[in-house]
Symmetry: C2
């Protein structure tokens, strides 16, 4: 098929006993989709570890940021912005309310809707998480390189907007 084999080392056997095998990724290694997935998962994992240090997780960070930036936002608006189904948000918001990070009020003009806002405690947590996120971004920047960063993000945005 005109595609060279690409091998990746695979750990095997005991400690120093060197890898005895490698894996052939075949065409996967050259495809954007596969590499996009691998990069995203690695980056997510890394941010996840950082977030854990302050007892949060990446999902909470996105949610808190969106609420902070859009005070009074509804759960449905939040789910659209976040790219999750609204039903996925129910337990997340419940948890944030329970822990006192988010205040949830019914809206008088439409009693189906909730209005979400950060509490003082939520703001404090968000600013801690934002520090985490900035460190994470710096480590990504170091890999991507200042020269390519802007174009890299532009490409990602185009993929998200235009694919299919």
């Amino acid at each position: 098929m005109g595609i060279k084999n690409v091998k990746a080392p695979l750990r095997r056997g005991k400690n120093g006993e060197a890898a005895a095998k490698s894996i052939d990724f075949g065409p996967l290694a050259h495809w954007v989709g596969f590499n996009l997935r691998m990069a995203q998962e690695a980056a997510f994992e890394a941010f996840s570890r950082r977030s854990q240090e302050i007892g949060e997780n990446p999902g909470r960070f996105g949610t808190l940021t969106l609420i902070a930036r859009n005070p009074g936002i509804s759960q449905t608006e939040l789910s659209l912005a976040n790219g999750r189904d609204k039903s996925s948000l129910t337990p997340v918001v419940e948890d944030l309310v329970r822990r006192g990070l988010v205040a949830r009020k019914r809206v008088n003009s439409d009693k189906r809707t909730y209005s979400l806002n950060l509490t003082a405690s939520g703001k404090k947590t968000l600013s801690q998480m934002t520090r985490c996120a900035r460190q994470h971004e710096r480590s990504l920047d170091a890999i991507i390189g200042e020269r390519h960063r802007k174009q890299f993000i532009a490409t990602l945005k185009r993929i998200a907007a235009e694919i299919e």
Copy 2:
């Protein structure tokens, strides 16, 4: 914080009745992590739709490709290559075996290990999926642009390899 607000339109109200609100993504919009997630999820979704047309899903594609390229591979090796926990692979392999796409044999030299291979039917399914994947790649290429593709993939690989 020196970051301009970035607004995205949000659908609201009935059909023609124009969006009445927009969402402020704040710093999220400029961060690699967030855009990486959005791009990956959009691309994954698109490939998922394509795969569905032939009754498969993206996960099966990666698994079948890796087995095809590495005949006799074990489940643990497969899970490492695939970046999933070995326990996640148990039901996947079960399903592939049940549907006759993969043959699973015990290895004589080590009776804990399974040896996985594609059946004829598995090879046929894989080649259908590979056609799907190539279409998907072409649509990604159209967005990324031939000029940037190589560098884009190189950057993704570096992120996957070096982050954290």
